[in-house]
C-alpha cells in the first residue's frame, strides 16, 4: 500500500471483522460443532481467548516498531531473505483465502440460486470484483468496508433474531460436548480461525500510531468473537447435535426457518445478499494482499500490471479441486489446523528477532 494511504481505526476494524467473520457464512458453525459437539460455544470461547492472548503478546512486542509492517520487520530481523520468505508466506495465505473462498462461495451460490449456470460463469463475477477492488486500491476497499460491514452485520443479526422461536438451550447439553480433551487440547490449533488478524500487521503503516493498531486489533477481535459466538450459540441451540453436522451452509439453513406470518417468507434472500457481499469483500481484500505482498517482497515498483495475471492464476487454481467438499477438507484439516503458525508464531518470532538485532546495533553504536 502506498505510504500516503491513511486508514482510520473504523476502516481497519471493519476490514478485519469481515475477514474473520466471513467464515460464519461458510462453515464456521459446523467446524465448531465438529470440534466441540454440543459445547461448540465453549470451543469458540476457548480459541477466542487464545487469539486474544496471542494478539496481546504480539502488540506488546510491536511497540518499538510503530508504522512498520510485517515485511519491514522481517527485513530488520532477517534481511532480504526474511522479507522475501515472509512475503511469500503472506501471499500464500492470502492466496489460499482468495482461491478457496472463491471456489466455495461460487459452488454454494450455484447450489442455492444459480443452479443451471456453469461454475466458470459464476466465478467471473467474483473475478471482476477482485480486479476492480485491486485496481482502486486499499483506500477504496476500506471505504466500501466501512459502509458495507455494518449492513452485513445488521442482516446477520436480523437472521439470528428471526430464529429465536426455534432456540432450545436443551440442545447445548451435555455441557462439555465432545469432552475437555477434544475442546481444550485437540481444539487449540483451531485458533487458526483467527488467521486473518495477520493482515492487521500489514495495515500498521496506514494506522500510523501503535495505539491505533492496538485499538483496531482489540475492537476487531472483540466484535468478531461476539459474532462467532452468536452464530455458534444460535446454530447449536436450533439444530440438535449430531444432525447439526448435516447442513452444508449452516446459516442458510437457519435463515430458511424464518417465517414471519403470511407476508414475510423466504427471508433467506437477505442471507444471499449479505453472504455475497461479505464473500466479495473478503476475496477482494485477500487478492489485494497477494499483490501487495508480492510487490513488496520482490521490491517491484508497481502492482497494477500484475492484477490481470494474478486474477487469472487465482481463478485457475480455484478450479483444480474436484469439488467444494475437497476444498473444505483442505480448509478445515490443513489450513485451519496449521495457519496459527503464520498468524501468531511467525510475527512473534520476527518481532523478538528484530528487537534483538535493534539492541545489538544500539550497543555497537554506543561502543563506537
Amino acid at each position: 500500500m502506498g505510504k500516503s494511504t491513511v486508514l482510520g481505526n473504523w476502516e481497519a476494524v471493519t476490514i478485519i471483522i469481515n475477514l474473520i467473520c466471513t467464515k460464519i457464512f461458510l462453515n464456521y458453525p459446523r467446524l465448531a460443532v465438529e470440534a466441540g459437539g454440543t459445547a461448540a460455544w465453549m470451543f469458540t470461547a476457548y480459541i477466542s481467548a487464545l487469539a486474544l492472548v496471542g494478539f496481546t503478546v504480539i502488540q506488546a512486542l510491536y511497540k518499538p516498531f510503530e508504522g512498520k509492517d510485517l515485511l519491514d520487520i522481517a527485513e530488520l530481523a532477517a534481511g532480504s531473505a526474511g522479507r522475501i520468505a515472509v512475503g511469500l508466506v503472506i501471499a500464500l495465505g492470502a492466496g489460499w483465502g482468495a482461491t478457496a473462498y472463491m471456489r466455495v462461495f461460487s459452488e454454494n451460490m450455484k447450489l442455492i440460486s444459480l443452479t443451471t449456470s456453469p461454475l466458470s460463469y459464476v466465478e467471473l463475477f467474483f473475478v471482476a470484483c477482485l480486479v476492480g477492488g485491486a485496481y482502486f486500491g486499499l483506500e477504496a476497499l476500506s471505504r466500501i468496508h466501512a459502509f458495507s460491514v455494518p449492513i452485513i452485520a445488521t442482516g446477520f443479526m436480523l437472521i439470528m433474531i428471526g430464529v429465536v422461536n426455534y432456540i432450545d438451550f436443551g440442545h447445548l447439553l451435555p455441557i462439555l460436548g465432545n469432552g475437555p480433551r477434544e475442546i481444550f487440547i485437540n481444539g487449540a490449533p483451531k485458533v487458526s480461525v483467527f488467521f486473518e488478524i495477520l493482515f492487521l500487521f500489514l495495515l500498521a503503516p496506514s494506522l500510523r500510531k501503535h495505539e491505533n493498531l492496538k485499538a483496531a486489533g482489540y475492537w476487531s477481535l472483540g466484535l468478531s468473537i461476539l459474532f462467532l459466538l452468536i452464530s455458534v450459540l444460535v446454530f447449536s441451540s436450533v439444530f440438535p447435535y449430531p444432525s447439526s453436522l448435516e447442513g452444508t451452509v449452516p446459516i442458510f439453513h437457519i435463515a430458511r426457518l424464518i417465517k414471519l406470518g403470511r407476508f414475510f417468507q423466504r427471508v433467506e434472500s437477505i442471507f444471499l445478499l449479505i453472504w455475497a457481499a461479505a464473500a466479495l469483500l473478503y476475496i477482494s481484500v485477500c487478492f489485494y494482499f497477494i499483490l501487495w505482498a508480492f510487490q513488496k517482497a520482490f521490491r517491484l515498483d508497481y502492482y497494477k500490471p500484475l492484477i490481470l495475471p494474478f486474477a487469472i492464476i487465482v481463478m485457475s487454481i480455484s478450479f483444480i479441486p474436484t469439488d467444494f467438499t475437497e476444498v473444505m477438507i483442505y480448509e478445515v484439516q490443513v489450513f485451519r489446523q496449521w495457519s496459527w503458525i503464520a498468524a501468531f508464531l511467525l510475527p512473534a518470532l520476527l518481532l523478538v528477532l528484530a528487537r534483538l538485532r535493534k539492541k545489538k546495533s544500539a550497543r555497537k553504536g554506543q561502543a563506537a
Binding site: F298, P305, L308, I312, M315, S316
Partner: protein
C-alpha cells in the same frame, strides 16, 4: 476438442502474458533481476494454468 472459443481464450491469455512480460523486461532493465524473474514466472503461469484447466478439467 479445441473449439474456436478456446482459441480466442488462449489468444487473450497470451496477450496478458505478453503485457506481464513487458513489465518483467522493464523491471530487469531497472536492475531488479529477482523481481523480473518472478514477474516472468507469473507470466508463464498465466498461460500454463488456464490451459491445464481447459485440457484436464471441465468447468
Amino acid at each position: 476438442m479445441i473449439t474456436g472459443g478456446y482459441i480466442v481464450l488462449i489468444a487473450l491469455l497470451l496477450c496478458v502474458a505478453f503485457y506481464t512480460s513487458s513489465y518483467g523486461v522493464w523491471t530487469w532493465r531497472k536492475g531488479n533481476r529477482l523481481g523480473a524473474a518472478m514477474v516472468f514466472l507469473v507470466a508463464v503461469l498465466t498461460v500454463v494454468l488456464p490451459v491445464y484447466i481447459m485440457v484436464f478439467k471441465e468447468v
